[in-house]
């Protein structure tokens, strides 16, 4: 592939020809795949901090039940991706600086690359609580394949795991750990699981079903200290109670990786600020996936990421395509109580209407005008997902010409 890059540079003269994607997660590789559907010849370089193998991050929080090793979660190796796309994939390479005026990147080894267009698909880092105690640094989080490999290895011989955070990832891991015969305890300062996504009744049902399956919860208090104990760890909660666990997993949310963009002078708010074309504040720079704040929204889920990848793939191929978001339900992979939630837009006014029994829960959020603006479905009611999603207004509708 090096010769392909070289010959492309020769042909282009002064105008750089190379499209560079930084990141080989779902955002980076799917943008590459979508770009290649429109343009099979422009040289494409994809830079990865890790091995560059293609895997699906959402699968990390339900891989134990399938008894999957990290190696088995690799869908395609970096080499396979490189030959299928085609593209040059440079693994174990860190981009340390971007010069947007010169349109160049500097790598950790001092080498430099000039780009035609640059796509930042760096993802997000787990948020870490400021914990006290001599074992605070032993708290793990699972944010990529390598993390999962370490986590799965650390579970050998473990009987109990404390999970910090009862959000989507925390609940998914709790459910998944049951498959390994491990007793999870989930701790959250909120009053119920998925408190930011679900109405109270649906959250309470999630709690009841997970408890029935073997998950323990401690609500209304956070963790203050993590200390080494004779076996595993001793957690001290803010309410003064304690808890023993063989392993402590933190799952309290994600923070977009924006340091590189910020240092390059790009506008960064929650994520790298981009418009509906995924274009950042300087020409020829784009952002996609968990590190992007698109038209004000940072949504670290698969559906928006795929919508972004499709639009950007076309834009990079010369067909400017603003991203559109339909209603995008989020699946919570908790087999003990299957849940799909389509949260109402932030700041919308209205009320939840909830109907539930032991087998299902159907919650609909109607806005002030009486329109369906969001929903949550659980158990048997999850089958109604498509029907309800079709009735919710798009989050980012098509732009009128």
């Amino acid at each position: 592939m090096a010769s392909q890059l070289q010959s492309a540079a020769d042909q282009a003269g002064d105008e750089p020809a190379l499209v560079v994607i930084v990141g080989t997660g779902l955002a980076g590789y799917n943008t590459a795949r979508e770009f290649r559907k429109h343009d099979k010849t422009t040289p494409l370089l994809i830079i990865s901090r890790d091995a560059g193998d293609f895997y699906s991050k959402p699968m990390l929080s339900n891989a134990l039940a399938g008894n999957k090793s990290a190696a088995q979660l690799v869908m395609k190796s970096a080499q396979t991706m490189a030959s299928e796309l085609p593209a040059s994939v440079r693994p174990r390479t860190e981009v340390v600086a971007i010069d947007t005026a010169a349109r160049s990147l500097r790598m950790h080894d001092g080498s430099a690359i000039v780009y035609r267009d640059l796509v930042l698909a760096l993802g997000a880092d787990p948020i870490r609580l400021p914990l006290a105690g001599d074992a605070a640094a032993d708290v793990v989080s699972v944010n990529d394949l390598q993390d999962y490999e370490c986590f799965a290895a650390a579970l050998d011989g473990a009987a109990t795991v404390a999970i910090l955070g009862a959000g989507l990832i925390g609940c998914e891991f709790a459910n998944d750990l049951l498959a390994r015969g491990i007793a999870p305890t989930v701790i959250d300062i909120a009053e119920r699981p998925l408190a930011r996504l679900l109405p109270a009744e649906a959250g309470d049902q999630m709690r009841a079903k997970l408890e029935a399956a073997g998950v323990a919860f401690r609500f209304g208090s956070g963790v203050a200290r993590v200390e080494r104990a004779s076996r595993g760890y001793r957690l001290q909660l803010l309410d003064g109670t304690t808890l023993q666990a063989d392993l402590v997993l933190s799952a309290i949310g994600l923070k977009p990786r924006t340091a590189l963009a910020e240092a390059a002078g790009l506008v960064v708010e929650r994520g790298v600020k981009v418009d509906r074309l995924l274009a950042a504040s300087q020409p020829h720079v784009y952002a996609v996936g968990d590190n992007a704040q698109v038209d004000g929204l940072n949504l670290p889920f698969v559906l928006p990421l795929m919508q972004q990848s499709r639009a950007l793939g076309a834009t990079l191929a010369g067909k400017a395509t603003p991203v559109q978001y339909p209603a995008m339900p989020v699946v919570v992979k908790t087999p003990a109580w299957p849940t799909v939630v389509c949260p109402p837009p932030v700041g919308s006014h209205g009320d939840w209407t909830v109907v539930h029994d032991d087998a299902q829960c159907r919650a609909e959020f109607f806005d002030a005008a009486g329109a369906l603006a969001g929903f949550a479905l659980q158990g048997a009611a999850t089958a109604q997902r498509q029907a309800l999603a079709a009735r919710v207004a798009p989050m980012l509708p098509a732009l009128l010409d």
Partner: protein, 54 residues
Amino acid sequence: MKTYLCIVCGFVYDEAAGMPGEGIAAGTLWKDVPESWACPDCGVAKSDFEMVQI
């Protein structure tokens, strides 16, 4: 009857179960699922699915 895995998000299509909620009857073979069908969890096209051996 076989199952198919979405390589993007891990969604599994089980031919035996179908997806009655989306109008795909139980027992519908993967080859008979419309080409226009997209993964309900992540929206990828049918061509991005991969077969899982069972």
